[in-house]
């Protein structure tokens, strides 16, 4: 399969959040600021790439009936690695992402790619797929986080653009996340339709 299209499909055409609508729980939860979105996106990308690689390597050795539990254990192992490393070297980011890091284990994107792609393709394609999907996820989170932070708090990556008195608090809270995500999905749908 063409590796280039394998990579780019995750960015826009099959973007996990904006087109497949997977993993919306952490998406809505952590994107109250752009920096949180970036941290969460990169952590998930690492887990996606590593679990896709390992699963595509061991797929023929795992009997079908215990496929899902084996995948989950592999994914959980990598998530815990990320959790420990973040706790050690970026305690500030770890604190602000909190419970959402361990929850990457049950993120539908990771298991979804393992099941739909890595368990059927070779290791190289799986890495490329994981990277594309992960970066697509990261991109969507950063854009979502930036819009919410800018409208809700008047800052972008903690850099202030206008005084706090003029902010719309709604965008930092849960309803703002739904509203912004809805508009982003609509725009991406439009772009994808136009391409066809």
């Amino acid at each position: 399969m063409n590796q280039m299209s394998n990579f780019t499909k995750g960015l826009l055409r099959e973007n996990p959040i904006l087109v497949l609508i997977l993993g919306t729980c952490p998406t809505l939860g952590v994107t109250s600021s752009a920096a949180n979105g970036l941290g969460m996106g990169l952590a998930t990308t690492f887990v996606l790439v590593m679990s896709n690689l390992v699963i595509s390597l061991v797929k023929s050795q795992i009997p079908d009936k215990v496929r899902i539990p084996s995948f989950i254990v592999i994914i959980a192992a990598f998530v815990t690695v990320v959790e420990l490393v973040m706790q050690a070297y970026t305690p500030g980011l770890f604190k602000s992402l909190g419970i959402f890091i361990p929850l990457i284990v049950v993120n539908c994107i990771v298991l979804g790619r393992a099941e739909a792609f890595a368990s059927k393709n070779n290791p190289l394609s799986s890495i490329v797929d994981g990277l594309g999907m992960g970066l697509g996820f990261t991109g969507a989170l950063v854009i979502l986080g930036s819009i919410r932070e800018l409208l809700g708090n008047g800052t972008l990556f903690s850099f202030r653009f206008y005084p706090e008195n003029y902010t719309t608090l709604l965008f930092v809270l849960a309803p703002g996340a739904f509203i912004v995500l809805g508009y982003m999905i609509a725009i991406v749908q439009k772009i994808n339709k136009a391409k066809k």
Binding site: V58, Q61, P63
Partner: protein, 199 residues
Amino acid sequence: MKQRESTFINMVGALLVVTLVSGALLGFVHQMTKSAIDLAREKAQSDAIASVLPPFDELAPTLKVLPEEGADSIEIFPALAQGHIVGYAVKSYSNNGFSGFISVMAGVDTLGNFTGYEVLEHKETPGLGSKMGDWFRNKEKEGQNVIGKSPGSVNFTVSKDGGDIDAITASTITSRAFLEALRRAHQGVTTLSEKNHGE
């Protein structure tokens, strides 16, 4: 390679190998990061102590005090300058935040006045309750400032409840919990100095 059959032996074997390898990997990473994690935690704590107290030379051994109300003991770090106690850093808490547990490092001088505070841990709403990190030390707004005040002379409850401190706009519950943590810190220091006088 041919797919392995789903026989009992194969399934048990596959799961055993997967869990063993994962466990070994986690043990290895845990070993690698353990010292860095402890270091980061200690640094966060000592940074907080330094920022809430006036300059000091050294910390006396940590004391644990059980406040009159509240289930858990609080830690008190007495700070010494030239052999004399200049203040106490108190790691206090409240369980009544809008989203539960709040942990605060508060600095109390020998007269019982607050010299500073630092919120260590909280899960309050971003943009609302999370403002407590700056709100209660805004020197321009005396009504909401707690620095330089003591619960011994000022009523440390929100003005809505008849107290003297202005709550964060739209975050009364967070404000109540935060002030509760400060009162608990102050009470811990009082208990401690009463005990020292008694001896």
